[in-house]
């Protein structure tokens, strides 16, 4: 039986919504299922209306479902608000004592969550554990894996808290079993225990990828949705010999990272649009001084403060053009967590090989959403530090010139203090020795030297991912976090008898057209799909390839696309 169940957990900020979703995510991942979890939260710490939506599938899944088969309401106030997303025979769990809402729908289960929480768990906050237990019973799923997971989850917080969570979940489970026997329509069959899969979100994957790729120095200033990257690095810093330095502002953060990069360690920062605005002058500094630099920009809707906790792909053009003057850079945009993990290593390799900045674009949807990943293979991660010259390779350093002319634009890089060489780096235009110059001849040569790196990078940027491989008359074109929704959309279109292909870019700038251009674009109609107002990538694509897109499917309300939304719009535009 194909399994594809979505569970929406709604309530106020501070009620433990994310705790339920991550516990469910882990349980079902370990049972061999694939899970995808989105977080939809307001920019506040308590109150309001938030939800997480957990999708459980027997096949890999990287997108949300617009509807929910289960609705778990932790809070009376939000019951009616989310009812419209429930499937026709979907199940709702709510606490009738907390709301005036009444229903004669047999699938709407009023359970005294709060009362059970107080009895079984001693605290009102245990409502989330009670509701989870109740949901497991309605889904027809075994309670044991949930109890095991709760024990593990709360192991660090003491025996008592773990025990209270377990007894609350058990009580919720029991209540359903005793009061409404076997009435839910959508059941989840028992899985097969599989421990090797991972449940991970985009921020964690980026931080993990960076650490595995040799990150030694991180500095940042908190800004949603990038902050979890910094928190992950900070937590791992001690064990893995990393310095994570909280900066006074983003300008300090990026300049510290440049200082560390100049010293010769792999260093990065992460931020969102507003913070990236502050970093732009330093982006040029890295370009001019030829210092490797990796910046993650986790996008959120702008301009200005925008929608701080929501998603958008509005900063692509900004990332491509940020800072004054002309200098080479690369822009990467992973489509999902596993890709983010490997692309971080690629970002560091590119930054060091080309001695220039690399920007990795995420967004709230990619960074905050959890997914099940089959494996992350450390052996697949290669480290290439480019032309770094180590002590034992240095013959004579007396007249070392940091910016000596090379056809590739890339000069050998000696790290300051590790040999008798002295290294001059300058943000003014400089001679090959790194001293300030006004010479027009040297200026011309240095601009060409730097810009030649762009040609090198262009040669090795990866091709877009085409899915499925059979040619189709219709191509959905997109980038970054749209991967999962587009991929599923082409599958749905296929099922509806409309053959389509996805063309997804994760290595965006400098743009490589050659390989896929001839293959798929000749005769197809191209529909661009983007989480922004203007179709920034579509226009860039047209500029680079000379191919116009027929339509743009755009969304800029701060919410991610559900695959079905794309399908509906494709049909409308056909």
């Amino acid at each position: 039986m194909a399994v594809d169940i979505s569970i929406r957990i709604t309530g106020q900020a501070g009620q433990g919504i994310q705790s339920i979703s991550s516990i469910m995510g882990k349980v079902f991942t370990r049972q061999g299922y694939y899970v995808f979890i989105i977080q939809d939260a307001e920019s506040r710490i308590r109150g309001g209306h938030n939800f997480d939506q957990v999708r459980i599938k027997d096949k890999p899944v990287l997108a949300i479902h617009a509807q929910a088969n289960y609705l778990i309401c932790l809070d009376g106030k939000t019951v009616e608000q989310d009812l419209p997303v429930l499937t026709p025979n979907g199940v709702m769990i709510y606490d009738g004592s907390q709301t005036r809402f009444e229903s004669d729908n047999p699938n709407h289960f009023s359970i005294p969550l709060e009362q059970i929480a107080l009895e079984a768990g001693q605290k009102k906050i245990m409502v989330n554990a009670v509701a989870t237990g109740a949901a497991f019973a309605l889904m027809g799923f075994d309670l044991r894996p949930l109890l095991d997971r709760l024990a593990e989850e709360f192991a660090g917080k003491g025996q008592e808290i773990a025990a209270h969570n377990q007894s609350s979940a058990s009580a919720g489970y029991r209540y359903v079993r005793e009061n409404f026997r076997g009435r839910a329509a959508d059941q989840i069959p028992p899985g097969v225990f599989a421990k090797q899969k991972l449940l991970i979100n985009g921020s964690q994957a980026m931080a993990l990828g960076a650490i595995c790729a040799g990150l030694k120095f991180y500095s940042g200033y908190p800004m949603s949705p990038s902050t979890p990257i910094m928190e992950f690095v900070a937590a791992a810093a001690q064990d893995h010999h990393i310095i994570c330095e909280p900066a006074e502002d983003e300008i300090a953060a990026v300049n510290m990272v440049i200082g560390a990069g100049f010293a010769g360690v792999r260093a990065m920062t992460a931020t969102s649009g507003g913070g990236f605005c502050l970093m732009t002058e330093a982006l040029g500094l890295a370009g001019m001084t030829e210092t490797p630099l990796v910046i993650v920009v986790a996008q959120r809707p702008g301009p200005s403060t925008g929608l701080p906790t929501r998603t958008e792909q509005g900063d692509l053009r900004f990332a491509m053009h940020a800072a004054h003057g002309e200098f080479p850079r690369a822009v990467l945009a992973p489509g999902h967590a596993a890709q983010a993990f490997y692309l971080m290593a690629r970002a560091f390799n590119l930054a060091e090989r080309y001695q220039t900045p690399v920007i990795v674009l995420g967004d709230q949807h990619l960074n905050d959403s959890y997914c099940t990943v089959d494996e992350l293979d450390l052996n697949r991660m290669t480290i290439d530090r480019g032309k770094v010259v180590f002590d034992d390779q240095i013959a004579s350093v007396k007249d070392y010139k940091r910016y000596v002319w090379q056809e590739s634009g890339i000069s050998p890089r000696i790290l300051p203090g590790l040999s008798e060489a002295v290294v001059y780096a300058d943000s003014d235009e400089h001679t090959d020795a790194g001293h300030i110059t006004e010479s027009s001849e040297v200026r011309n040569q240095m601009v060409r030297k730097r810009m030649r790196k762009l040609a090198g990078m262009r040669q090795e940027m990866g091709s877009p991912e085409i899915y499925p491989s059979q040619r189709a008359a219709l191509v959905l074109l997109g980038w970054g976090s749209l991967y999962g929704a587009m991929k599923e959309a082409v599958e749905l279109l296929q099922q509806d008898g409309i053959p389509a292909q996805m063309c997804h870019f994760s290595q965006i700038y400098p743009f490589t057209a050659q390989a896929f251009h001839r293959k798929i674009l000749k005769k197809s109609r191209i529909l661009a799909v983007e989480n922004n107002y203007s179709g920034q990538f579509a226009d860039f694509f047209t500029q680079e390839t000379g191919r116009a897109v027929c339509h743009k499917i755009l969304k800029y309300d701060g919410r991610p696309f559900a695959p079905r939304e794309i399908v509906d719009q494709v049909k409308e535009k056909m």
Partner: protein, 285 residues
């Protein structure tokens, strides 16, 4: 034996003849020789202005970055390779204006950097506009009726921030300045040396003579730089008499000393091995 010769740079100097920067360069080189530091063991990070050109005029590792962003670059460099002797260098506009926020937080961090501020109370490179340390009433092209606001007091701010080494030097007292720089580099922690630097082209008020008539060294023995209240008082002295010397000094742990990651080896010497992280992955299973 390290000699002055080793610090000789062939980069032609672009300062105005008679500028106070020449004396500061001389004192800096002399201090490095006295400390027997080799050029490759030193790194100077500078910003943009006249002062930040200094490292080009002596041979040593140099990162000449952005206007105002000297201290964060120096901090990143120092944390990544704490075996380097790191200095930061810039003007009053660079350090107290554009980079004011970084200045406050570098002092808080007590990162082991010696910060030389060439304080000419004016923007030199951009041809004479008012700076954060310009006297009130100071007439420039951007303050044609005279600066309406009082100058900031960097030493007082530094004492308030518990900066672990606060000193003032004068470009006209080279030996005294050499000694301050030497002590600043020896000091473990953030050392601020604000240096009174006459700008002969754009500051006709605070000239060599003006300073010479006013500066006096805080007396050894009679002044205790460990006394913070005394330091607050002394830092406020300006006008008829201007103290030079170490105004405040307090030993406290440096930032590098507090990072376990570099207790045994500097970051830059640590190898990279992606296969060394299975434990991190397991946490997600």
């Amino acid at each position: 034996m390290v000699t002055l010769q080793e610090f000789a740079s062939d980069d032609p100097i672009a300062w105005c003849p008679g500028c106070g920067n020449f004396s500061i360069l001389k004192a800096l080189k002399q201090a490095l020789v006295e400390l027997q530091k080799k050029p490759h063991e030193i790194a100077i990070v500078s910003g943009i202005g006249q002062a930040p050109k200094t490292p080009h005029y002596l041979r040593c590792n140099t990162f000449n970055g952005l206007h105002g962003r000297t201290l964060p670059v120096a901090a990143g460099l120092k944390l990544a390779n704490h075996e380097l002797t790191v200095l930061a260098e810039g003007g009053d506009g660079d350090g107290y204006g554009e980079g004011g926020n970084h200045f406050i937080h570098a002092m808080r961090r007590n990162i082991d950097i010696t910060y030389l501020v060439h304080n000419n109370q004016v923007y030199g490179l951009t041809k004479g506009q008012t700076s954060p340390t310009s006297e009130s009433g100071f007439i420039t092209k951007t303050t044609p009726s005279g600066s309406p606001v009082p100058p900031m007091n960097p030493l007082l701010l530094a004492v308030a921030c518990d900066c672990s080494f606060v000193a003032r030097g004068f470009a006209g007292a080279i030996e005294h300045l050499t000694d301050l720089i030497r002590q600043g580099i020896r000091h473990r922690g953030f050392a601020l040396i604000d240096i009174l630097q006459p700008c002969v082209s754009f500051n006709r008020v605070n000239t060599f003579q003006w300073y010479e008539e006013r500066v006096y060294p805080v007396g050894e023995g009679e002044y205790d730089p460990g006394d913070r209240t005394a330091a607050f008082n002394r830092a406020q002295e300006w006008g008829e008499r201007i103290p030079i010397g170490i105004i405040y000094r307090r030993e406290r742990p440096t930032l590098s000393a507090q990072h376990a990651a570099i207790a045994r080896q500097s970051l830059v010497r640590q190898p990279i091995d992606p296969t060394g992280f299975p434990g991190l992955l397991e946490a997600f299973q």
